[in-house]
């Protein structure tokens, strides 16, 4: 064995060793992203309205209209950033910026554009005329490789290059003034949107080509945006069953019933239609390009992408929970359990979600907290929502207490599990039975996030 070969083995072993804890950590547990350190200057300036909007006023809108556009942009950005919707000093943003750097390599746009990642679950990304580009965790979690992320970012960069935010505003102003006329304003708007999207797709292909990314992945991104991708199925029947309660076929909704929950409104259908057209045009364009050698799915290590994708998905669970969208949070957790069946965070988070769902069911208001109504793409999710929504109070009580008790046996030393157990026992039985769990929490977790709440409960006895 040569020394060089031995060295290679050492390097390989070390890199394997270093990469293992990342996924090892996700296999066992997950800690939601906590924002740390000093708030970056580029973040603060968007809160303090210190952004600069520079654009060529090609539509010749007047100074008042320009001011209105500037104010509207600044105000929207300020709210998004101030309300804690954007991550900073975190692994997702770091990664997205690295990919963004590759796209903008050798470009004079580097100083004009800043990439951010938002906590929003919608699979989407947005561009602002000041150079802010925000990609949602909902999109990050669904992309399949780095080249697809590069396409999504390049598409947004293209919107910025072409000044599409300004043009959209400017054309609307002109139309209102009567400078342009149409008898079919909606149709014209759709066409205009489509033109901007097609332009951005086209420029994105050029940007990816220069950066050596495989631009053929672009059409797959559009497929993902349409919701047309392979979805993981979930087995909530067996997961939610326990010795206290069994989820049987009889309790499930029939497909004809749960399809009522799936998206059907006209706006969504039109959005899908637009994406369809984009996809066809893109495929046409790509078919005309000579095959370029050495196009890559990954420029950064693949494992980095896989890690970021997984973290984004875990964050979807956490952010849905924080937004009180307990059905979505439970569903995403169940999907992740396919890959990480023993993940403590996921198992406990489902219990926490179900505790709140049960609370709403106790108040007979389940049908009103269904945030995703008519916007569901997945059969499994629609089935799950339908099942939870039509559940009898008594059944849900048994199901939730059964599951929480089952998980408590595995995670009784975890503070979140213990407090969920205490709250569930209190809700399903009464405080007399829950007392010992609250006492245990107070004893074991004097620094715990729920400590004061648990103390108050005991004081009220």
């Amino acid at each position: 064995m040569t020394i060089r070969f031995q060295l290679l083995i050492v390097v390989f072993c070390m890199s394997s060793f270093l990469s293992c804890p990342m996924f090892g950590q996700l296999i066992d547990d997950y800690s939601p992203i906590a924002l740390k350190g000093e708030v970056p200057a580029e973040f603060l300036k968007r809160i303090k309205n210190n952004v600069k909007l520079e654009y060529d006023n090609s539509l010749r809108i007047n100074s008042t209209q320009r001011k209105q556009f500037d104010i509207a942009t600044e105000h929207a950005l300020r709210k998004i950033f101030q309300n804690g919707n954007i991550y900073f000093n975190d692994p997702l943003t770091d990664y997205v910026r690295k990919v963004g750097d590759h796209i903008l390599y050798n470009s004079n746009l580097k100083n004009d554009i800043t990439f951010f990642v938002s906590r929003f679950n919608t699979p989407n990304a947005t561009t602002w005329q000041d150079g802010t580009i925000i990609i949602n965790i909902g999109l990050l979690a669904k992309l399949e490789n780095e080249a697809q992320l590069a396409f999504a970012l390049a598409h947004e960069v293209s919107h910025f290059i072409q000044q599409h935010p300004y043009l959209q505003y400017g054309r609307f102003v002109k139309k209102k003034e009567g400078t342009t006329t149409t008898n079919q304003p909606f149709v014209q708007n759709v066409d205009r949107t489509l033109i901007y999207e097609l332009e951005a797709d086209s420029i994105a292909v050029d940007l990816l080509s220069k950066a050596n990314y495989n631009y053929h992945e672009g059409s797959k991104v559009l497929r993902i945006l349409k919701g047309d991708y392979e979805k993981e199925s979930i087995d909530f029947m067996s997961y939610l069953s326990s010795d206290k309660f069994e989820v049987t076929q009889k309790l499930l909704c029939k497909p004809i019933s749960y399809r009522d929950y799936m998206e059907s409104d006209d706006v969504n259908q039109k959005a899908i239609l637009l994406t369809d057209i984009r996809q066809r045009r893109l495929i046409q364009r790509l078919s005309r390009i000579d095959i370029q050698p050495n196009l890559r799915l990954y420029i950064l290590p693949e494992r980095l992408f896989q890690k970021v994708k997984a973290i984004a998905h875990f964050e979807m669970v956490e952010q849905s929970f924080r937004a009180s969208n307990f059905l979505r949070s439970t569903y995403e957790a169940l999907v992740l359990l396919n890959t990480y069946p023993n993940n403590k965070y996921l198992n406990i988070k489902i219990c926490e979600n179900l505790y709140y769902l049960n609370s709403y069911n106790e108040m007979s208001i389940m049908n009103r907290i269904f945030f995703d109504q008519k916007r569901i793409e997945d059969d499994d999710y629609a089935d799950f929502c339908c099942f939870i929504n039509k559940m009898e109070q008594n059944d849900m009580r048994k199901m939730v207490s059964g599951l929480v008790k089952k998980q408590y046996q595995s995670y009784s030393s975890d503070d979140r599990m213990l407090i969920t157990m205490a709250k569930t026992i209190e809700a399903v039985h009464d405080m007399k039975y829950a007392k010992s769990y609250y006492e245990r929490y107070v004893k074991l977790f004097p620094e715990g996030e729920h400590f004061i709440s648990a103390m108050k409960k005991l004081e009220q006895l």
Partner: protein, 246 residues
């Protein structure tokens, strides 16, 4: 009351806000607030809103006022001065205009808490939650029980008080009859511009949460004239703090 979370009482009915002659005032508070309210000495006010119209944005055909934050610093000062006059230390956190040394605590705890307060308010009243189903009517019957997550209770220790508030002056939409919905969630500023339409009134609002009880304990909602001057605003805020410590 046996259930602590079933303690929301509507204690002050709809009255004209005669002191300033500027509009209507709606207040509700819990039993626990009635007891503790008298001893409130310290409130954390999370990034108060001060949004008054600067211009009308033509993007949404004159229906959406572009909001400006003019005079926000004056507003914060008026809030803290009036609180002080009533023996309350009002600590403003997360206000963009005043805070230089932003720290992560605001983004990790206070901004999510503010979102959650708005979310719970929304769930309690169910206005617009299910707009696609006209059969589901808005109701005010579910103010009991819905709670802020208990993991925010540790903030009571971190900030030295269990009371956290969202406050501000903002636009709210009217309902179909042109009337203001009492304490409806959509009426409270969600920082979501889509809620703002031309059919609006201006409100001053305060919602106080006791994080140790995981409860919204006090809600106040005053409809005011859009052209109220600083003196009138000051009187409104002064009266609000008088009510809080009553």
């Amino acid at each position: 009351m046996t259930n602590h979370f079933a303690s929301f009482l509507l204690i002050i009915s709809v009255t004209l806000f005669s002191a300033c002659n500027t509009g209507r005032v709606y207040i509700d508070q819990t039993d626990s607030f009635e007891i503790a309210g008298k001893d409130i000495k310290h409130i954390i006010s999370i990034s108060p809103n001060f949004n008054l119209p600067a211009t009308l944005d033509p993007i949404i055909t004159d229906k959406r006022p572009v909001l400006s934050s003019r005079d926000a610093i004056w507003f914060y000062q008026t809030l803290t001065d009036n609180a002080k006059n009533h023996g309350i230390y009002l600590q403003i956190e997360g206000a963009a205009e005043t805070i230089e040394g932003y720290n992560s605590n605001y983004f990790n705890y206070l901004a999510p808490l503010k979102r959650e307060i708005l979310q719970v308010l929304s769930l309690q009243d169910f206005e617009d939650v299910n707009p696609q189903n006209p059969d589901v009517k808005p109701t005010k019957k579910h103010q009991n029980g819905l709670i802020i997550s208990s993991h925010y209770s540790h903030l009571a220790e971190k900030y030295g008080t269990p009371y956290f508030a969202i406050q501000g002056i903002s636009f709210v939409p009217k309902n179909e009859n042109g009337e203001q919905e009492l304490l409806m969630a959509a009426a409270l500023p969600t920082d979501n511009l889509s809620f703002v339409t031309v059919n609006v009134e201006t409100v001053y609002y305060t919602v106080i949460v006791d994080v140790s009880l995981s409860q919204i304990v006090y809600r106040e909602f005053r409809v005011i004239k859009i052209n109220s001057n600083q003196k009138q605003f000051n009187a409104i805020i002064n009266d609000s703090f008088s009510t809080i410590i009553k």
